[in-house]
């Protein structure tokens, strides 16, 4: 099942190579496992949060929000139970990293959950795993069971006066449920329709209680912060954007796969040194840097540091670190068509601009690709995308609009050529 390339130069996050896994608690303990948890549980919860803040750990789920800062949003005087939700929905096209932890190495993830739950004062954590991951759910549940058996979870975590239960909650096929408030609706047994904010989840979240939502990789990073200390964690990445990062490299590459590298590694290094360059050494045409929703970069824009701030400055996003490369000879309209179909399919239908707009975008791109585009369609696309952005409850609307705006702007001559010739010049 796993013959993908997993390179582990640093061995901090991706410590298991291809075909390897650590699914047995004793083996994990033999690697120094749970020392990080012991260290954290010996500190006051506030001090744990401060340490994570010092590590400048930015959330790995897409938005890059500083983890320790988010944890601080829980009102201290709220007497209700608190929840930690771990986002393992892994739905953004191009992303296949969280799967590594579920499948090959769940214990660092579980360590991070224990530490984070302790820091925010939660006694229950749910891991929301996309429903397709049937095997991964079984593996994860088995590892959790091992932790209960050995006293790492339950009434007294590691013999301390701290209770924690971790449960796996399966999704059932809906990309939108990766959005944090839809995820909460889904756990509550409802369709995954995002909630209006405020109130923010840290104040009114799951079951009306204060809730923190973090990504799987973020949790694994929390465990690293305590394994090595915040200072060392920062040194593994950038000053304001600490730690290592798992980059998901896919598309027209010689060695696609997961690669761990310091946060802020150059995109060209990732493509040419890590992933071995492009198939048949073809020139690059475009790179989607952070998942299919993030604005595309053209070949002359890829000499760039892959971190949250640098990509934002370049008008795009690190997102989930899911880098999709396509080479010359690829029709950009065809690529956008797949992307637009996806967001139209996954709109929850709650907000009119997204419900109608995503379908509209998808149909126009489709008609251009199939040779039925009309003069003015490019402006129509830009206009329609602009009318979705910022006008919806959640960011799915923006996720649908950003690729359209960037593809049409950066490959406009190719879109126009489809329209003028009444066919796809690539013969699609």
């Amino acid at each position: 099942m796993n013959d993908q390339t997993i390179e582990t130069p640093g061995k901090h996050l991706l410590r298991c190579g291809p075909g390897e896994d650590i699914l047995d608690l004793d083996r994990h303990l033999a690697t120094g496992g749970f020392e990080a948890v012991k260290k954290a549980l010996d500190m006051q919860p506030d001090a744990v949060r401060e340490e994570v803040k010092k590590g400048n750990l930015r959330g790995r789920g897409g938005a890059g929000f500083p983890a320790g800062v988010k944890w601080g949003f829980i009102p201290a005087d709220n007497p209700k139970p608190r929840y930690l939700l771990v986002n393992a929905d892994e739905g953004e096209p191009g992303t296949f990293k969280d799967r590594y932890f579920l499948e090959h190495d769940p214990f660092p993830l579980l360590e991070g959950i224990i530490i984070s739950a302790y820091a925010i004062g939660a006694n229950t954590s749910y891991i929301y795993v996309r429903g397709e991951f049937v095997k991964q759910i079984r593996i994860l549940e088995d590892c959790i069971a091992q932790l209960y058996k050995s006293g790492y979870l339950g009434e007294k975590v590691l013999g301390r006066d701290y209770k924690l239960d971790i449960y796996v909650h399966p999704g059932a096929g809906a990309y939108i449920c990766g959005e944090e408030s839809a995820l909460m609706e889904s756990i509550e047994g409802k369709p995954g329709r995002p909630r209006n904010r405020p109130p923010f989840p840290a104040v009114v979240g799951l079951f009306g209680c204060p809730t923190i939502i973090n990504n799987v990789e973020t949790m694994a990073c929390v465990s690293l912060v305590f394994r090595h200390g915040a200072e060392k964690f920062v040194q593994m990445g950038l000053e304001k954007d600490g730690g290592p990062k798992i980059y998901c490299l896919s598309g027209h590459l010689k060695k696609p796969g997961l690669y761990e590298a310091p946060m802020g590694t150059n995109l060209k290094t990732l493509i040419y040194d890590y992933a071995g360059g492009t198939l048949d050494d073809r020139p690059i045409k475009g790179v989607i840097p952070g998942g299919s929703s993030t604005p595309v970069l053209t070949a002359d824009e890829i000499d760039i540091s892959m971190d949250f701030s640098s990509l934002a400055a370049a008008g795009t996003m690190l997102g989930s670190g899911a880098t999709i490369v396509f080479t010359e000879g690829t029709c950009p309209v065809a690529v956008l068509k797949r992307i637009s179909q996806f967001y139209a399919h996954e709109s929850c239908g709650q907000c009119t601009p997204c419900r109608s707009g995503t379908g509209w975008l998808s149909r126009i791109v489709d008609s251009i690709e199939s040779g039925n585009g009309r003069a003015g369609d490019c402006d129509l696309l830009l206009d329609a995308a602009g009318n979705i952005s910022g006008n919806t409850i959640c960011a799915l609307g923006d996720a649908a609009a950003m690729p359209v705006t960037s593809f049409v702007t950066k490959f406009r001559d190719e879109f126009e050529r489809h329209i003028a010739e009444g066919r796809c010049p690539y013969g699609n």
Binding site: D3, T5, P93, V134, A172, F207, I324
Partner: protein, 163 residues
């Protein structure tokens, strides 16, 4: 009502109830168990789940219809799902899809006459580094080629007792 979970599913169902502060929250995991146990979520199955969780039928229906993995129609014994999203597309997913359509003699959303196979185009399976990918029931099959697809279908056909 004649439907009932097997002992194994019943045990899983009971375990679920202890995990949440209310019964609604157990709904999706229970529907996942029911979908697996009964093959798909017929009206009767959804009513059974509603009864077991003491929820209104419309509540169950409203939730079930939102999620693509909760099947409202029968699927084949082997439900073949082909990812058609970007990274798989770039690596030849359409060829795999066409190949499977020809081989099985059905299109997306259809089921073979003997009920053995159904075929569906699906969105990103999180297998972009091992594209193109397909999922058959619980199992992922990655780095697909037409040859690998042939072997897979042939072996499933044998295992499933078809010709």
């Amino acid at each position: 009502m004649t439907l009932a979970f097997t002992a194994e599913s019943e045990e899983k169902f009971k375990a679920l109830l202890g995990r949440y502060p209310n019964r609604q929250a157990a709904l999706i995991p229970t529907l996942v168990i029911a979908d697996r146990e009964f093959g798909y979520l017929s009206r009767e199955v959804m009513e059974y789940v509603a009864e077991r969780l003491d929820l209104p039928k419309t509540y169950v229906l409203n939730t079930a219809t939102f999620y693509t993995l909760l099947h409202k129609q029968p699927v084949g014994r082997y439900h073949v799902q082909v990812c058609v999203n970007v990274s798989c597309y770039l690596n030849g997913a359409d060829h795999i899809a066409d190949h499977l359509k020809r081989k099985l003699g059905i299109g997306f959303g259809e089921i073979t006459e003997d009920g053995l196979f159904s075929l569906e185009g699906v969105q990103c399976l999180a297998s972009c580094g091992t594209a193109p990918a397909i999922q058959v029931n619980d199992d992922y099959h990655e780095n697909m080629t037409p040859e690998k697809a042939d072997q897979l279908i042939d072996s499933l056909r044998q295992a499933g007792g078809g010709q």
